[in-house]
């Protein structure tokens, strides 16, 4: 952070005190624009007009005033703070200086700062924002595309937290965009002209009773069968995070984990409980050592499906790489039954992320004919595809 140094030129020559304050303000706005803050002519005009509303020689007011007008989100505020310090450095109010000196709990090391911007760009992409921001695109295009393709296993440290958060947010945002079909409703919603006319014609000659329509909540059940063998553990957690966030879209969600045996984890309510439960369960090595036996576990699932998790309105998601040391016939049989009973079967295999992947392992080959959607869920791009698939089925 540039601080006022004894060797700095005397105040009188400083830009900040240049008589043409308006000119400097415009230059500052252009600078911010270069750094990715969306500032149009209107904002520039507003900022100039606002100078009349405050006492310009008050550092705090000057800073706060410009920030309120020019920075329109938390991220833009951060950029603004940084640029303000270097541009108007004499006029940096004490509060802003203090902020930097205080040991920030949230302070991330410099290399990840850039990554943060990338995540924000991805967030826009995930939200499919309708106004493409050209300046943002130019700055981070190459980073963005590589980040979307980046395999989950390659994230580490702070990035994992960020990734988790974005996955959750994404899941939640999808919940808001569910199907827009309508059902008859008694008193809420738009008047359904068609129903009103038809129903009234039957009984009365006039249209007396009004029928309304509102959106119908589509609720299916979700059954998740997760492979928690070592190779799958990381991917499973990320996909589960996503599905947690998405859970509001489902009436009921049940999670099972399997490796060489099947275990019912919990209804998909609490993400922290899940991580904790997963840790506890998989740490018990005696139970979990030995090769994955997909067929046996699925058979167990079918046998003990007392609560009828599997039904025509449930979606089954299997997260596994298909490496199986067990009985293939059992697996085929189980897959057949699952496909028969459920609405659809989705299988997510991170290995599919490698571009020359061919399902050669026997387990995968056996299951393939009974799968409705075969996805990879190994990076953000594939998560988006998964989301579209699920949304289309809702």
């Amino acid at each position: 952070m540039p601080e006022l140094h004894p060797h700095d030129p005397p105040i009188v020559h400083d830009r900040a005190f240049n008589k043409d304050l308006v000119k400097n303000l415009v230059i500052f706005c252009r600078l911010l624009r270069q750094k990715g803050v969306l500032i149009g002519i209107q904002e520039e005009l507003d900022s100039i007009r606002s100078l009349e509303m405050i006492s310009v020689d008050d550092q705090d007011s000057f800073y706060l005033c410009l920030r309120t007008i020019l920075a329109k989100s938390l991220r833009e505020q951060e950029i603004f703070d940084k640029e303000f310090k270097s541009f108007w450095h004499i006029w940096v109010p004490a509060s802003l200086r203090e902020k930097a000196e205080k040991p920030e709990i949230e302070q991330k090391p410099k290399p990840t700062r850039k990554k943060k911007e990338n995540f924000i760009t991805i967030k826009d992409w995930l939200n499919a924002s309708k106004q493409p921001d050209e300046s943002k695109d130019v700055a981070s295009y190459s980073d963005e595309s590589s980040l979307l393709q980046k395999d989950f296993s390659l994230f580490y440290g702070m990035e994992t937290d960020e990734l988790e958060n974005w996955i959750k947010l994404f899941g939640k945002s999808l919940v808001n965009r569910l199907g827009r079909r309508y059902i008859i409703s008694s008193n809420k919603g738009k008047v359904d002209l068609r129903s009103s006319l038809r129903k009234n014609l039957r009984k009365n000659t006039e249209v007396i009773n009004l029928y309304r329509k509102r959106r119908k909540p589509q609720k299916l059940k979700l059954v998740i069968l997760t492979d928690v063998s070592k190779s799958m553990d990381l991917y499973s957690r990320f996909v589960l995070q996503f599905l947690y966030a998405f859970q509001k879209a489902f009436r009921k969600v049940n999670t099972f984990i399997f490796s060489n045996r099947l275990k019912y984890v919990s209804p998909l309510l609490d993400q922290m409980e899940l991580n904790h439960a997963l840790d506890q369960l998989t740490n018990n090595t005696e139970e979990w050592s030995g090769g994955t036996q997909i067929g046996k576990c699925f058979q167990e699932f079918l046998e003990h499906d007392q609560s009828k998790n599997l039904s025509k309105d449930s979606i089954v998601i299997v997260i596994s790489d298909g490496w199986d040391t067990g009985n293939l016939v059992g697996l085929e049989d189980a897959m057949f039954q699952i496909q028969q009973k459920a609405k659809s079967v989705i299988w997510l295999n991170p290995l599919k992320g490698y571009h020359d992947y061919q399902p050669t392992c026997q387990g995968m080959l056996t299951a393939l004919p009974y799968i409705d959607y075969f996805g990879s869920a190994h990076n953000l791009e594939s998560m988006k595809e998964l989301a579209s698939e699920i949304s289309s089925q809702l």
Binding site: L38, G40, Q42, E43, D46, R49, S50, M53, I54, S55, D60, S61, L64, C65, R67, T68, I69, A71, K72, S73, L74, E76, Q77, S95, I105, K123, D124, N127, S129, K130, Q131, D133, K172, S173, N176, R177, K190, V191, E206, V207, I208, L210, R214, R215, D270, M272, E273
Partner: protein, 306 residues
């Protein structure tokens, strides 16, 4: 200076605002822009609109957004039933269709929802659009149009223009990213959890008869608690509830048993409560609360649970 006046006005309503808040409100008022307020839950975003309304003696019109909010519920709707009845009544009288239309498409048959109320009000109002991120993008673009033109065209009546442009406050919970267009239209304010000194000031003003020691301890505790990664981090609203409850219980300081018993007031999620209970000793230590040494069996039990 008008800024100071505003600060005093807010304080007179018991709202102690950070300088950034005062500046944002001041600019939004003066330059007649909507104010977009974002921040975590329970920090006083909605309060601002209420306080502004009271201090200016203006009407507060509130539009609570939700998923599926459409123009009918937000803007206006024709009172269909009344119109139908009127048509039936007027059957006998030989009115022309044009006259009939004039009757049933008049202001009497118009159900004014919040946005239209705000536009057609004869006095200055404060329009609070709460939790805009819960509505969808379609609604946002409709709102945008409204905020630019401040007029509505009702096909049957005509164009209604606003007599007084209301002071608009939009709040967002960040469950969804609001479109850039809305952001550009508004001035932006981010309200975070209050700093220690500010929180004490707020508690002192809103909770009568609270002991200073208790107020200080509550604020230190809350500050430490918020640093933990909780699912539902408590805001200033929870601090106030807690303070009021403790005063009712005639407490003048915090001790472990009271805190444990009243955790449900500040934490609304079971896993958060569990987490807080596990770390309660560290939290209490930061308050300088000295404890008796714990019995051996209790310590053993603690270490086996961890």
């Amino acid at each position: 200076m008008k800024l100071d006046d505003l600060e005093k006005r807010l304080e007179s309503q018991n709202y102690f605002a950070e300088p950034s808040i005062v500046m944002a409100i001041h600019l939004a008022e003066q330059l007649q822009r909507p104010l977009l307020i974002e921040g975590p839950a329970g920090v006083g975003k909605t309060e601002i609109a209420k306080v502004m309304a009271k201090s200016q003696d203006a009407e507060l019109i509130r539009l609570q957004c939700y998923e599926g909010l459409d123009t009918n519920s937000a803007l206006y709707e024709w009172n269909y039933q009344r119109q139908l009845l009127q048509i039936k009544l007027e059957e006998r009288e030989n009115k022309t269709i044009k006259d009939l239309e004039k009757t049933i498409f008049s202001h009497d048959y118009l159900l004014k929802r919040p946005l239209l109320q705000a536009i057609s009000s004869s006095e200055k109002t404060i329009l609070l659009i709460d939790e805009l991120d819960r509505a969808d993008e379609e609604f946002e673009s409709f709102l945008l149009e409204l905020l630019s033109d401040w007029q509505i065209t009702i096909p049957e009546i005509g164009t209604i223009q606003a007599n007084h442009i209301p002071f608009v406050v939009i709040t967002g919970n960040r469950t969804r990213e609001l479109s850039d267009a809305i952001r550009r239209r508004c001035f932006y304010l981010w309200i975070d959890y209050p700093e220690y000194e500010k929180e004490i000031q707020i508690i002192n003003s809103k909770v009568e008869g609270i002991e200073q020691k208790l107020a200080m301890q509550i604020c230190i505790f809350m500050e430490k608690l918020r640093q933990q990664k909780l699912r539902k981090t408590p805001g200033i609203a929870e601090s106030l509830d807690w303070a009021k409850a403790l005063v009712l219980l005639h407490q003048d300081h915090l001790d472990i048993s009271v805190v444990q018993d009243t955790l449900g007031i500040i934490l609304k999620d079971q896993s958060d409560i569990q987490k807080a209970t596990q770390t309660i000793h560290e939290l209490m230590e930061s308050l300088g609360v000295r404890q008796k040494p714990l019995p051996k069996e209790f310590l053993e039990q603690q270490s086996s649970n961890a």
